[in-house]
């Protein structure tokens, strides 16, 4: 603690010194600390980014994974310099955020893209991926399809001999961004087979469930004929579903996940700094995998403190950089999908607007 206090004291001094100098924070001269809070989906990636950034710049970054809502609240209240959030700011939050940012723009940067895998445990099936359309997945999780040799499944998997094992769908028992994106995908892509709205809480009563990602993966692994959904980095050792996009079936991959983000239109109200995206779950773009979770880093374009502005700018530049994205994509870190270079240009242009004022 004493060390941190000393560091921030130095940061203040440096900030005072450099405030009449250049504002380009990416070269040297960075110090102090930077606090963020929010999405627990980003926690693993953030740990990698923090370590990488600290090596590079000496600035210590803290990130409190309190959940997206908590992160947005803390950011608006001025408690943290940036927030991680699985959802964009709503209209009321945006108004408050602009006030928090000294009237300047608010940055919403889609820097964390994580494919969600539909995982299953079905020993004895030699197909690399079982193929399913969104409607089939919806019917399975809704309980309309109950065995693996159901005609609907057989029709989508010619040449694969599926056993008559009962299907046990497994969902998350806690509220989660993964569930929200999964149900959003089912609602939008299944053509009416899924009659529930997107929500972070699983909408159906009953059924098997697991607490957290590791709990869910544990249940899927522990059963036979089980099927669930989880962050793709945790799918190792289990079968994964190739989902139907257009006329072909696409298994998850970092490239396919990044492709759907590029193929998706900007969300309503997006602009040059609020790079919010409306994921096109029903996309037909070739090679796109629409079952992804996109998490934003939210920051200000205008900070009142030079040191803080420099640190945020440098940190986000690192996060969006090729090195930063590659670090998060490492399976031992977060196994996320790196953003495409087209998206990186847009993100970097937004980061470049950060200044002191």
């Amino acid at each position: 603690m004493a060390g941190a206090a000393a560091l921030s004291a130095i940061a203040l001094t440096l900030a005072a010194c450099s405030s009449n100098g250049g504002t380009d924070g990416t070269d040297g001269g960075l110090s102090g600390s930077l606090a963020g809070a929010g999405s627990s989906a980003q926690e693993a990636a953030m740990a990698g980014w923090r370590a990488g950034f600290e090596e590079q710049s000496g600035v210590s970054v803290s990130y409190d994974a309190v959940g997206s809502g908590g992160g947005r609240t803390q950011f608006i209240a001025g408690g943290v310099a940036f927030a991680g959030s699985d959802a964009a700011l709503d209209a009321a939050e945006l108004t408050d955020a602009i006030a928090r940012c000294n009237g300047g723009d608010v940055l919403e940067l889609p820097v964390y893209i994580s494919p969600i895998a539909v995982i299953y445990n079905l020993p004895g099936v030699d197909a690399e991926h079982i193929q399913m359309s969104a409607a089939t997945i919806a019917k399975i999780f809704d309980g309309a399809i109950t065995t693996w040799d159901d005609p609907a499944l057989a029709a989508e998997n010619p040449g694969v001999s599926l056993p008559s094992t009962a299907i046990t769908p497994v969902h998350r028992s806690d509220e989660s961004g993964t569930t929200k994106n999964f149900t959003d995908y089912l609602a939008k892509a299944s053509g009416g087979a899924w009659s529930y709205d997107a929500s972070g809480e699983w909408p159906i009563d009953g059924g098997q469930s697991g607490q957290g990602t590791s709990g869910l993966v544990g249940v899927v692994t522990g059963g036979e004929g089980t099927i669930g959904y989880a962050d793709a980095s945790r799918a190792e050792g289990l079968g994964t579903v190739a989902v139907k996009v257009g006329d072909s079936y696409v298994p998850f991959s970092p490239e396919a996940a990044a492709a759907v983000v590029d193929a998706s239109p900007a969300a309503e109200g997006a602009n040059a700094t609020e790079l919010t995206i409306e994921i096109d779950r029903a996309t037909t773009a070739a090679g796109a995998y629409p079952l992804v979770l996109v998490s934003y880093d939210i920051a200000c374009a205008t900070y009142s403190d030079q040191g803080e502005a420099d640190n945020v700018k440098a940190f986000l530049t690192y996060v969006a950089s090729e090195a930063g994205q590659a670090r998060a994509a490492d399976p031992s870190v977060a196994g996320s999908a790196p953003i495409s270079s087209a998206l990186r240009e847009k993100v970097q242009a937004a980061i470049d607007t950060i200044s002191v004022g």
Binding site: G67, T73, S173, D205, G218
Partner: protein, 326 residues
């Protein structure tokens, strides 16, 4: 670990029958200390109750619109939300008690009246050791070891007795209330055994010898002289076990696939959840009113535990005259 300690008058006659002034003062000092210790229990209890009530209050008086803003509270009112949780808590605990009490009484009787001295002592240690295992370890044991082991039994139960709704629709893996209750039963076994054993050991020797002298077999002796004497002790032991089962968190959290229903399908997943496990699962991401709502469920658990203890006291008091202790 005696449970039914006979009531003593607070001051012994020795204190009044003379002695030096300093001795009298130290006696009074000790009286003050023990009085303070007694009062501190009440203060702590009152403090916990006050905390729960104050923190739960915003959720209790919240309007329906405010409650609707809590994403996981999918019910028309707080009471409707807490109802199934209370049901799940009571169901899992009562089932655990149903499994644990007969076994615990059996072990206790074996240790106190049947086993050779050396074995009895070793067994007593082992049972006490079982009580020292942290509940999260029981949770891991239940989730990783017991579930696959118990699976064929549940399958058999569901296939053969599935026409009884209690055992219908088993879906593997075994993450249902019956699996959770099994683990809870193992967890509360040591406390019930230990207390029952102490009580059985205190059964009047003369009664036992008299029974044997009248030609009773050992089992008849146990039935006539030991069990009636120990009945109230076994009841209080069970209530201690029930208290532990009601509040057990980690084991249930790790074993059960939660659901929020009034359901008697013991083998179906996603039907039940207990209050303590629900708080543990929802708390990490809770903020604002949802914290108050969770604490309100905690208040309900506190009240239930209190009621269970009161009930136990009443049962024991009612049966006192049969216990042979007087």
């Amino acid at each position: 670990m005696t449970v039914t300690s006979p009531t003593r008058s607070p001051r012994t006659p020795a204190a009044a029958s003379g002695g030096t002034r300093s001795r009298r003062r130290s006696g009074r000092g000790f009286y003050g200390l023990s009085l303070g210790a007694g009062i501190s229990i009440l203060v702590v209890l009152a403090a916990v109750a006050a905390f729960l009530l104050i923190e739960a209050w915003p959720a209790i008086v919240a309007s329906r619109e405010e409650l609707d803003a809590i994403s996981w509270l999918d019910a028309s009112s707080l009471a409707v939300y807490i109802g199934p949780l209370i049901f799940g808590t009571l169901l899992s605990s009562v089932l655990a008690l149903l499994f644990a009490v007969p076994i615990a009484v059996g072990i206790a009787l074996f240790i106190s009246h049947y086993a050779p001295r050396a074995i009895a002592q070793a067994l007593g240690y082992l049972v006490d050791l079982l009580a020292a295992i942290p509940s999260v370890v029981y949770g891991l044991w239940g989730a990783l070891w017991l579930q696959p082991v118990i699976d064929p039994f549940f399958r058999w139960l569901s296939d053969n007795l599935g026409f009884i709704p209690l055992f219908a629709d088993y879906t593997p893996p075994a993450r249902n209330v019956l699996a959770a209750s099994t683990v809870l039963a193992v967890m509360i076994l040591p406390i019930i055994t230990a207390v029952s054993r102490e009580v059985f050991l205190q059964a009047p020797r003369l009664h036992e010898e008299a029974a044997l002298a009248l030609g009773a077999t050992r089992w008849e002796m146990v039935r006539m002289a030991v069990l009636p004497f120990g009945r109230s002790g076994v009841i209080s032991a069970s209530m201690l076990g029930l208290g532990r089962a009601l509040g057990e968190t980690m084991a249930v959290l790790m074993i059960i696939s939660p659901g929020y229903l009034f359901s008697f399908f013991l083998l179906k997943p996603g039907q039940h959840q207990t209050i303590a496990a629900n708080i543990a699962s929802k708390f990490p991401e809770a903020s604002g009113l949802s914290v108050n709502a969770l604490i309100a469920t905690g208040l309900a658990l506190f009240t239930i535990t209190f009621a269970v203890n009161m009930l136990a006291r009443w049962v024991i008091a009612r049966r006192k005259e049969f216990s042979g202790a007087n």
